[in-house]
């Protein structure tokens, strides 16, 4: 009898968490699907999906979300890789550097947007410095619809600043899995720091790089408050449209359609991630 309770104990310990996740994630997911395709009368309809796709903001939201993704993710990978390699090289004060690089991990995208707003407003710090060094004569307007490239650049910088920390932490953890001997062996053969990084470290770090890449891709689909803080409604993105349809237009159906769209893409990326993970386990065993 006692042995039996011991056997069941782990399941009893897991059960509350699983039940909770089913209630708060699985059921709402199904509900979102019904909200998107079912009218209040209970009839199935494609009205809401249509309203989403014919909306003027729809194609903009799509394009902008992907544009941000394509610009932000590579920048983050490069920055995070530099940070991770520096931290991992055990330079003096590496623990301090790790802490500093990790701070934005605890910053919301809304706060990050506001922080960079102080930099990019017309009477902000970027104009002050640029004029101070003589690069411009009069303050520029960065954050208006008319200056789309600089608006985009501001959002890319703010979001890269915030979310590079997650990538960095994943890469540092990945670097720690690589045996130190590999580095020493490369040193022994006289490899320079750069050659060592390219030929020894990067290939071994590939699994971590891949998971960081996909986690960031998934998160980039949700980019929302940082855009709202810097651009207002001038730059529609998918998550922002879901919010606007719910909060401003009071239409949970179209908002749910956007939510489903976002979930769909997340799932595609997740499947990708799991495949990468399977590959990773095989590599570890090798």
């Amino acid at each position: 009898m006692r042995a039996r309770t011991e056997e069941l104990l782990p399941f009893a310990l897991l059960l509350p968490a699983i039940v909770f996740l089913v209630l708060l994630i699985v059921i709402p997911m199904v509900q979102a699907l019904f909200l998107a395709v079912q009218a209040d009368s209970g009839e199935l309809t494609t009205d809401y999906l249509n309203r989403m796709t014919v909306d003027t903001n729809f194609s903009d939201a799509w394009r902008n979300t992907l544009l941000l993704l394509v610009l932000i993710v590579p920048l983050q990978i490069v920055l995070a890789l530099a940070m991770a390699l520096l931290v991992h090289s055990r330079i003096r004060g590496h623990a301090w550097f790790l802490y500093v690089y990790a701070i934005p991990l605890a910053i919301s995208d809304l706060a990050a947007g506001i922080l960079w707003l102080a930099v990019f407003t017309e009477r902000g710090y970027l104009n002050t410095v640029a004029q101070g060094v003589g690069a411009i004569d009069t303050p520029r307007v960065f954050l208006s619809f008319e200056s789309f490239p600089s608006l985009l650049a501001a959002i890319v910088l703010a979001e890269s600043w915030r979310a590079t920390a997650i990538v960095m932490v994943i890469l540092v953890a990945g670097l720690q899995l690589i045996p130190r001997d590999f580095f020493e062996a490369a040193d022994l053969f006289g490899a320079s720091r750069i050659r060592r990084t390219i030929h020894v470290v990067l290939p071994l770090l590939r699994p971590s790089l891949q998971s960081a890449l996909i986690i960031r891709t998934i998160f980039a689909f949700q980019t929302f408050a940082v855009v709202l803080a810097l651009a207002g409604r001038n730059m529609p993105v998918i998550a922002g449209e879901a919010y606007a349809w719910y909060a401003n237009n009071r239409n949970p159906h179209v908002a749910a359609a956007y939510a489903i769209l976002l979930l769909l893409f997340t799932m595609v990326a997740t499947v990708l991630y799991l495949r990468v993970l399977g590959l990773r386990e095989a590599e570890v065993k090798r």
């Binding site: 701070i103 706060a111 104009n127 932490v169 749910a256």
Partner: protein, 268 residues
């Protein structure tokens, strides 16, 4: 300079440059939050703290709804921590101590929920919460924050309990403790610092969350929901003060949690 010296200069120069890239925006928002409200119109901006003032922060903290929203944010975070640890710590303990069928399946669930855009589910949840009376209620916000934090809590607590030697618990059990009292008297006290770190990280997740808090509330705003809702019609200095106020606890908390950072995202 020798090649070796060049190398060192390059490495340390790069490290400090990257640190500056992270720190400078914090400095600038602090500077903005602690200047006078009128100073948002000053140009060029002083780059040094020459005219510090608490007027802007005073204005922010006395603005309508700000104090209440801070209290709401704290209440939501505390409920999330209690609920999250109550649900997540047992699961973490199970992962750390037992080999059982379905273990890797559960780990997969944790991995998937870690990346899942939970916030977006606040749209269908808002409809349900309206029927349950949980709409515009801090408990409703805390529920979805718990769903977001749960995978992280499970990961951290699993790491924490794995670090507490199982032999100590087994020794207590041979001395007559039940598994539960052995856990309570031996494992729990040793795990307490790690559990505190999990609680802190949960606080950060909840304190920062914008989307769900905005969708699920109307008057019972949390601080980020209030600031987001006011973005369109609030003066710049209000936003700067709000940004600074939201960032502050995060910096402090990440300091206490720095040892566990790699567990959160590094763990597969």
């Amino acid at each position: 300079m020798t090649a070796r010296n060049w190398d060192r200069t390059l490495v340390y120069g790069g490290a400090f440059l990257l640190a500056a890239w992270v720190i400078v925006p914090f400095y600038l928002i602090a500077l903005s939050a602690f200047s006078r409200p009128d100073d948002v119109f000053t140009y060029p901006k002083p780059l040094l703290p020459v005219a510090l003032s608490t007027e802007t922060m005073d204005f922010f903290l006395r603005s309508r709804g700000v104090f209440a929203s801070v209290l709401n944010s704290i209440a939501v975070a505390v409920i999330t921590i209690v609920l999250g640890l109550a649900l997540g710590a047992p699961a973490g303990y199970a992962l750390a101590r037992f080999a059982f069928p379905g273990r890797s399946g559960f780990q997969l669930i944790i991995l998937v929920t870690k990346m899942f855009p939970v916030a977006i589910l606040s749209i269908p949840l808002a409809v349900t919460f309206l029927q349950l009376g949980l709409y515009d209620n801090i408990l409703g916000v805390a529920l979805i924050h718990t769903a977001m934090a749960l995978p992280f809590i499970v990961l951290v607590t699993a790491g924490v309990f794995a670090g507490v030697s199982n032999e100590l618990e087994e020794a207590a059990m041979t001395l007559g403790c039940s598994r539960f009292t052995a856990f309570l008297r031996v494992a729990l006290p040793l795990a307490l610092p790690g559990l505190a770190a999990a609680a802190i990280f949960t606080f950060v997740i909840s304190w920062n969350e914008v989307f769900a808090a905005t969708i699920l509330t109307l008057r019972q705003r949390t601080l980020p929901a209030l600031v987001l809702g006011a973005l369109n019609d609030s003066p710049l200095y209000f936003k700067f003060a709000g940004g600074f106020f939201m960032v502050l606890p995060a910096i402090v908390f990440i300091f206490f949690m720095r040892r566990y950072l790699l567990n959160l995202w590094g763990a597969r």
